[in-house]
Structures are given as structure tokens and as C-alpha cells.
Symmetry: C2
Amino acid sequence: MAAAARVLHEQGVERTTLADIAQAADVPVGNVYYYFKTKDELIQAALSEHSAHLDQLTARLEQMTDPRARLKALIETWIEQRDLAARRGCPTGTLAVELDKRTEGDLDAEAGALIRRLLDWASGQFRELGLPDPDDLALTLVAGYQGMSLMANALRDPGIMSREGDRLLRWVDTLQLPDRNPSPRTR
Amino acid sequence: MAAAARVLHEQGVERTTLADIAQAADVPVGNVYYYFKTKDELIQAALSEHSAHLDQLTARLEQMTDPRARLKALIETWIEQRDLAARRGCPTGTLAVELDKRTEGDLDAEAGALIRRLLDWASGQFRELGLPDPDDLALTLVAGYQGMSLMANALRDPGIMSREGDRLLRWVDTLQLPDRNPSPRTR
DNA sequence: GTCTATATGCAGATAGAC
DNA sequence: GTCTATCTGCATATAGAC
């Protein structure tokens, strides 16, 4: 499963053969079929891997008490992955793009669900901060990440991850709590 | 070439067969090879189509005198394409993601070059406005577009294009000219 | 459970009639 | 230039020995 996730990310879903994955996992080709009946099941396994990584990441971030610090640590993590992002793009994002081109099967929805989980987690942090429209803020954050990853990948420039990542860090810093007593009418 | 551009965008590069393109163009398969020796040449032709579309777009925008209005019109164009973006993603962006997975050939660089041309055009507009770091602003703009397109596509939600597009419009509006005489030291 | 050998289908590419 | 028929290679998937 780890080999599948890695190779599918590196080479893309459609250009990766089962032989590639088998070789990366150091097992003969036929053996793969004992555990995964079809290539689609292998792709699903890769999605599970990414899902587990997301769980690990959020669990680590939640050890911090301040939601704003968690969000900034998330962005720092993205920046640290800049070289990989420039070479191969965001693992989940590029997977979503590829799978969305498929009409049959429902793997595309699963990639979307994975992104939505990140979105929901981020939304929860903004909500904890008491900020208005946490869903919108989460969307801006994750879209920002996907955008900078795609640009870094397309232009083969990890510096883009640093520049846009820093901008996101500053953005998170500037978000202000709304005035709690905007009007004397309240109560 | 138009059929190639359309079908390659809809189905993705790797899942599109020459038969698909031939059928969309209403010519028999073998005939395609009279004009395009390989599938790669067809992909290149699709890139040329996208390039021509970009030229048409910027030419149209440059009829406006105010660079800020041009940028806002660009964003409006993106928002108008929200349904296509939600179903298939940004034509150039998804192409870049797919082609970047290829090791052999140099098509990936051409997709990147196309994105860079948009980047350069946007940078020119910010520069005309006299704003500092026009390249960074252009990067933020185009990354924002790619990010919202990918999210709209992954979540199958055109509303994302509207929400994030509106945010970009407000962002362009808030960009201020720097103080021209910040210090009496000058001269 | 593991592995080799093989079947099947299809996509890219070509030959050659018209 | 156009089109049909066909070749070739390769990727998914299977059969079956061990």
C-alpha cells in the first residue's frame, strides 16, 4: 500500500502499471493480485494511505493548544514539502485531478472526500478561534495550498511554495476576532 | 485540433484514445495520422489551441484602459466558467498536472510555459498599476485561480468558483498604491 | 500465500487501396 | 488526401504449479 501510494503519486495513476508498483514493493507482479483484485482496488489502497497520513498530521497538530498555531504549523508542513510538491505536486490534489477524469467507478468521489476532510478540520480550527464564516476561511486556506502546489509543480519551482506559504502564514496572523459588542442593542 | 483540445480536457490525456479524438472530429482514425504523426503531436496541438485562447482573452481584456478593470474582468471570466471548472477543472491546469507526471518528452514544460504566459500578463497589469512586487501579486492571483478550480473540480461544486472568485475580486480592489513620498530623505 | 507463465484486450501506429 | 484493415506491443488480469 505504501509503495502504491508513492509510485501512483510519482508517476500518476494512468501511467503507473501494476508491474511498477510490484517492483517498488519488491514482490512479483502476480502476487499483487492476491491482495488486490483490480487496479482500482490498489488506487483505493493508496487513498487509504493518504487518509491515514492526514489523520497522523491532524493528530500531531492537535497537540498544540492554540488553533491558530495549529493552522500555522499546517502551513509550515506544506512549505517543508516544497521540493516534493515542485517535482510531483500535492499527492491528494494531483490524485483528485486524475481521478476526476474518470467517468466509471466512484474513486473520484473518494479523492474529493479526502480533501473535504482536510477542509472540515481547518474549518473547525477557524471556528474555535471564533472567526466568522469558518467554512469560507478553510476553503481559502486549502485552495491556497492546492493552488501553490499546482503552480510550483507546473513551473518546477519550490520557491513558489515558500513565497505563497509565507503569504498564507501572514494571512492567518492577520485574521481578527470580530467585535463582540458591535451594537448596544444587544440584550 | 479543437476536438483534441476539448476531448483531452474532458477525458484527460491518458484516458483519451486517438479513436476518441477522431470520433469527436468526425474523421476515421487512420486519417488523424496524416496530420499528426504521434499522440504527443496531438497533445501539442491541444496546447496550441489553449495558447491561442489565451491570446484571444488577453487581447479582449486589453481593450480596457484600466489595468485593474482588466484583472477584474479576467476573474469574472473565470467565474463565468464555473460549471466547466467544476466538471473538468481548468483546462490548462489539469493538463499541466497530467503532463508533469511524464518523464520522457518535454510536453510538461510547454504546459508550464503556458501558465507562465498568463502569469507574465497579470504581472504586467499589476506593474502598470504601480504596485510593488507585481510578480508576487500575479503568482497569488493565478495560484488562487488554479486552487479554486481544483477545489471546485474535486468537490464538484461550481459555487466554490463564485465564492473564491468574489474573494479575488475584493482582493484586487483593496490593493493600494504605496505612498510615493514615504520619507523626506528622498532627494 | 507466493510466484511463473500465459491469456485477453486494447491503444498506438502503419500499410496500402482508393 | 482519405479511409480500411491490420500489425505490434504492452498492461490488466488469470491459471495453476509450488
